[in-house]
């Protein structure tokens, strides 16, 4: 089942994939972190990427969003080859991602963190003569996203004063604020308390319900995976080893073995 399957996606496949990677690879020194991964992703579908620690999930994200440059292979967005684009250009082209290890503007206020995302979306960054505060609609948009992740109450606090969980939520808010076509979540609920997790999951559900966004999600929590996934991709030692229906994939030997670790987890 080593394929980039289009057949087995549960939502009716839109003819053209919004995002696709062809033989995408990267190696660090001798170590191949992502190896010839080819996959297509479709609007309105939510794909969960699972795999052992160090399988290459985050690196795969980095290759798509441009934080890393592929050693070989290509990434294309709505049919356009964006392999040569830098991170910023890809973001503006519509690829948004939230980071696994929280990565924010520590000394700016929670509000400003989100506002900057909105501003980038609005593309007025180079405007020197207007006042940032005169762009009321942007501020309102930012406030709206803060409410959606239930952070409105911390609006004016600096980010370093947030607890870990709150930072995770802010990470998500920023991604939403970018309003990208492609949304990539890297373990959004890691370290989030059990009562907060649903907040984020519902958010993702809502976005998914809009049916026009392409969502990629890296997650280790099986319950989360089950409740969200239309489709599951399994990475193992950088190679794509399974791709398809959640049920079938989760049942497959390799996943049981290497990932869920029924029996002893041999290699990693």
């Amino acid at each position: 089942m080593q394929t980039s399957s289009t057949s087995s996606v549960s939502t009716p496949p839109v003819s053209t994939p919004s995002l696709s990677t062809r033989d995408l690879s990267i190696h660090f020194g001798g170590h191949v972190a992502v190896n010839q991964v080819s996959a297509d992703f479709y609007p309105g579908s939510l794909t969960v990427i699972v795999g052992p620690n160090g399988a290459g999930k985050t690196t795969y994200f980095n290759l798509i969003s441009g934080q890393l440059n592929a050693s070989s292979g290509s990434v294309s967005l709505f049919g356009q080859d964006i392999t040569k684009f830098g991170a910023a250009k890809r973001t503006r082209a519509g690829i948004g991602r939230a980071f696994q290890l929280t990565n924010l503007f520590p000394h700016l206020s929670v509000m400003e963190n989100v506002r900057l995302a909105v501003q980038s979306r609005a593309g007025i960054g180079l405007n020197i003569f207007s006042l940032w505060s005169s762009h009321k609609e942007l501020i309102q948009r930012a406030e709206h996203y803060l409410e959606r992740v239930a952070l409105a109450n911390r609006r004016d606090d600096r980010v370093i004063t947030l607890s870990h969980g709150d930072k995770r939520k802010l990470e998500v808010a920023i991604l939403l604020a970018l309003e990208p076509e492609i949304m990539m979540f890297d373990e959004p609920t890691a370290g989030m308390s059990v009562d907060e997790v649903p907040v984020v999951l519902n958010l993702i559900q809502e976005v998914k319900a809009e049916k026009n966004k392409t969502i990629l999600l890296v997650e280790h929590k099986m319950d989360v995976v089950r409740s969200l996934a239309d489709r599951i991709i399994v990475l193992h030692n950088g190679t794509l080893v399974a791709d398809g229906e959640p049920a079938t994939v989760m049942a497959s030997a390799i996943v049981q073995e290497a990932y869920l670790g029924k029996g002893v987890a041999q290699d990693v």
Binding site: H107, L108, L116, R121
Partner: protein, 355 residues
């Protein structure tokens, strides 16, 4: 209206507002509330340094770029005017041309440095600027036929700017309104305009991105801002303003020379003022510059009295001897970093909480 003028970036502290108003009116009325050459000289220097420092803060406080090349641009502006005036017959046209040429050179250099900086880490960037600046200074003193070498050039300015020229017959508030005073008001008003412009820049969406870059460049890039472009732009803006400040300085002093325009001392003064005043807030530049320049001009007189009072304690007298004023400058350096980690403005505003 007023809000708009200040780009909605109000002092947000009674004390601070008071100080700013004091400085503003003090400078506006300087020629008539003081007498003699030195006070006027001090006032003019303050005006010019406010711009010089504020423009540097755009790099340092807002974008988080540590550059040592700021004096270089200051110098280019100054030499632009100086060379123009010393070459041709002093006239406004000549000045304008001089400034324009200087600005062109400035942008070219700023772009070059900026683009070079993309290849190297932040800290290396500051070291490179240091190197470039110092070699530029060397160059300036080497081309002695053109620049007058270490000695620099003393030049003439248009008639109405010379002390000889008198606007009115009789004195006003005990000050003859001569070319010096006219020059002062030219300097003053240009500085006000430039400052307001800077305020606008840092409070524009652009300015906000700069702060984001300072905080976390990687993330700013990930948000879709081409940080390179922003840094280079900030670089050029700051350089241009510095050059303008330099032009004004030359016009005021009727002299240009490496010690005054290009030396590392000027750079350290700028840095110190930024820190005393408070990084990342332009008002810091105003307060800092005012305090510092005044101190620099009058500290020694104070110390002279101090050491006279202490004659019978040799060591103390030694330490407070006016020739040791640099010692106290150094102490100032240290204390200001100690006690005003966020600068005077930061202190006055209480904490560095951002909006």
């Amino acid at each position: 209206m007023f809000r708009q003028l200040l780009s909605d970036d109000l002092p947000r502290s009674r004390m601070l507002s008071a100080l700013l108003l004091l400085t503003f009116f003090g400078l506006a009325a300087a020629p008539f509330i003081t007498s003699g050459a030195r006070p006027l000289n001090t006032a003019a220097t303050i005006c010019i340094y406010i711009i010089l420092v504020a423009s540097y803060d755009l790099l340092l406080g807002y974008t988080g770029i540590v550059s040592f090349a700021h004096t270089m641009f200051f110098g280019i502006g100054a030499y632009g005017v100086g060379l123009a005036l010393s070459s041709g017959t002093p006239g406004w046209g000549v000045i304008i041309i001089g400034i324009l040429l200087a600005l062109i050179l400035t942008v070219a250099l700023a772009l070059m440095i900026g683009l070079f900086a993309l290849r190297v880490r932040a800290i290396f960037y500051s070291m490179i600027t240091l190197a470039v600046a110092s070699s530029f200074a060397v160059l300036a003193s080497q081309l002695s036929d053109l620049t007058g070498g270490e000695d620099g050039i003393t030049f003439r300015v248009p008639e109405i700017l010379t002390p000889g020229f008198q606007l009115f017959e009789n004195d006003i508030f005990g000050r003859t309104v001569d070319g010096k005073v006219i020059t002062y008001y030219i300097v003053f008003s240009i500085c006000v305009l430039l400052f307001l412009f800077l305020l606008r820049v840092v409070n524009s969406p652009f300015g906000r991105v700069l702060q984001a870059i300072r905080e976390n460049e990687f993330r700013a890039e990930a948000l879709g801002y081409r940080t390179v472009v922003y840094r280079v732009l900030a670089n050029c803006l700051a350089a241009l303003l510095a050059a303008l400040a330099g032009a004004l300085m030359a016009l005021w002093l009727r002299y240009v020379g490496p010690k005054t325009m290009l030396s590392f001392e000027v750079m350290t003064d700028i840095l110190l003022i930024v820190v005393i005043g408070g990084m990342g807030t332009l008002y810091g530049a105003v307060i800092g510059a005012a305090l510092f320049i005044i101190a620099q001009n009058y500290l020694k007189n104070l110390m002279a009295q101090g050491s006279e009072a202490l004659v019978d304690f040799p060591i103390l007298a030694q330490i407070f001897h006016p020739d040791r004023w640099m010692l106290w400058l150094g102490v100032l350096f240290i204390l200001s970093v100690y006690f005003f980690p966020t600068g005077i403005v930061g202190k006055l505003r209480g904490g560095l909480r951002q909006r």
